[in-house]
């Protein structure tokens, strides 16, 4: 059983890694793409997942309107019409590559979700663009205190800009889950429970089987 200190419901790094190993075993059986990234010269590491998301850009609509207008103007001339059509066929919807990392924070003693998003040609999405992809249920909350919850941060292992869901409230929402599990003598996989709660904020949904198939470490 995970024995949590009475003062709070914290996770030590060893237990974090064991939770991740169990998580990854299930991911392997689903072949849904999570992996463990090791850190050279260290026992630390983090979980990683990459997904491609089709996004409709707001600018696309204006392009479509322009196309209709031009096509309309070219109605009388067959040759022009063909030419206009060829020039203004809209491209496929934009594809955004999301890279998620699950790291352990020794300061807060909880997992932390880092991610970055870029187009396939390598352009990095801004915070505003990332917000547009945030689940609408969370967006109002984010708008109220945007910098406190979702910020651009240096990845503590890679040293590159990532977005981070701030971990300072994790203990507060994990505590009731852990206390209930303890009362019912059930083992909880902290990482599964935590990621099920925070992942959807930034478009990361776990299949339900993670909650039923992945146990907590003994």
């Amino acid at each position: 059983m995970c024995d949590y200190p009475e003062a709070g419901c914290y996770l030590d790094e060893t237990t974090f890694q064991r939770c991740c190993q169990l998580f990854l075993q299930h991911s392997s059986s689903l072949t849904d793409g999570w992996s463990w990234e090791t850190v050279k010269g260290s026992e630390e590491g983090f979980m990683k997942h990459t997904s491609l998301v089709c996004v409709k850009e707001s600018g696309r609509n204006r392009t479509t309107d322009d196309t209709s207008s031009l096509t309309g103007q070219g109605e009388e001339d067959d040759e022009d019409e063909d030419d206009v059509g060829a020039r203004w066929v809209p491209e496929d919807p934009a594809v955004v590559r999301y890279e998620y990392h699950v790291l352990y924070s020794c300061s807060y003693q909880v997992p932390v979700l880092y991610f970055r998003a870029s187009t396939l040609d390598g352009r990095v999405l801004s915070l505003e663009e990332v917000w547009e992809a945030v689940h609408p249920n969370y967006r109002v909350k984010l708008q109220q205190g945007p910098w406190d919850i979702l910020t651009q941060q240096e990845h503590p292992i890679l040293g590159q800009p990532f977005f981070m869901l701030h971990p300072c409230h994790t203990e507060h929402f994990m505590r009731p889950v852990l206390e209930m599990a303890r009362t019912n003598l059930r083992r909880v996989n902290y990482v599964v429970t935590w990621l099920s709660a925070v992942g959807p904020v930034v478009g990361l949904e776990l299949p339900l089987s993670y909650c039923t198939a992945v146990s907590g470490p003994e």
Binding site: V124, L127, W147, D148
Partner: protein, 275 residues
């Protein structure tokens, strides 16, 4: 102690003479004069360089201006590191003034965080203080403070007001007498030769036998290569605020007196100068 307050002031008012030069590829309407400035060690580049920006904008067209960023000898400078850390890490054994190149194009997305406004700096600063307090007091002191107290910490830093800042920050530097120090010491160890940006782990202020830990103890555990044996030539300098404290210095005292305003002890390890 009165002597210790002198140390706090000397740290707070640390200055670095800096020469800002516009990058040669930037398009200007006339020649851009370099801009000289004394930079505060404990603040952040993007917080104290409004004058620099205004200076160079005078010779540039608006359409040629994007987000301003800084570079030293090809290395983009991370604005979210305290200025003193950037200097100690990249330029401490070079001639003064510090030569910083200013860019308004080709922002290096893979190296630097964006900094669209002072609100972002404030958020980063408060986030660091909260993390430091999570280590020192499980976050209890910073969470018990009111919003206006947080604001006072930020305004003290932004306006370079030592007394305003320390009226509030002293609470974050207290600890129960019986415990002999903070729960864990907030520190980061930087070195340019590593793949990782910094080393940050849990480290207590006293040993299990109750002995105060020293800077030497911290390095022995985190980066033993920095400690040379008596017969070896010195390979590394260990810099905090531009000075090399004795390795016997108690780590708790360093955390109270040589931390940056974000409450972290930022330690730079650089190769010893060869000359």
């Amino acid at each position: 102690m009165a002597d210790d307050k002198d140390v706090l002031r000397d740290v707070w008012f640390g200055r670095i003479p800096t020469c800002f030069t516009l990058h040669q590829d930037e398009i200007t309407e006339r020649e851009a004069e370099p801009f000289y400035l004394l930079l505060p060690r404990v603040s952040y580049l993007t917080l104290v360089t409004d004058k620099v920006k205004k200076h160079f904008l005078k010779v540039m067209k608006p359409e040629d201006v994007e987000e301003m960023w800084f570079e030293y000898e090809g290395t983009p400078l991370k604005w979210h590191y305290p200025i003193g850390v950037l200097f100690d890490l990249h330029a401490s054994n070079t001639a003064l003034p510090w030569s910083v190149t200013v860019h308004f194009k080709n922002f290096p997305e893979r190296d630097l965080l964006h900094c669209p406004s002072n609100s972002v700096i404030e958020a980063h600063f408060m986030s660091s203080i909260k993390e430091a307090d999570a280590l020192k007091h499980k976050g209890q002191v910073i969470n018990d403070m009111q919003k206006k107290d947080h604001k006072q910490l930020w305004m003290g830093l932004q306006n370079d007001k030592f007394d305003q800042f320390w009226a509030m920050n002293r609470k974050l530097m207290e600890y129960p007498m019986e415990e002999g120090g903070f729960r864990y010491i907030p520190f980061r160890i930087y070195q340019t030769t590593s793949d990782r940006p910094f080393i940050q782990k849990l480290f207590r202020s006293v040993s299990s036998e109750g002995q105060p830990h020293t800077l030497g103890d911290l390095l022995k555990e985190m980066f033993p290569a920095a400690i040379c044996q008596d017969d070896e030539p010195k390979r590394y300098q260990v810099l905090i605020h531009g000075i090399e404290p004795m390795l016997e210095t108690p780590i708790q005292w360093l955390s109270e007196h040589l931390s940056h305003p974000d409450n972290f002890l930022h330690v730079s390890i650089i190769p010893s100068p060869s000359d």
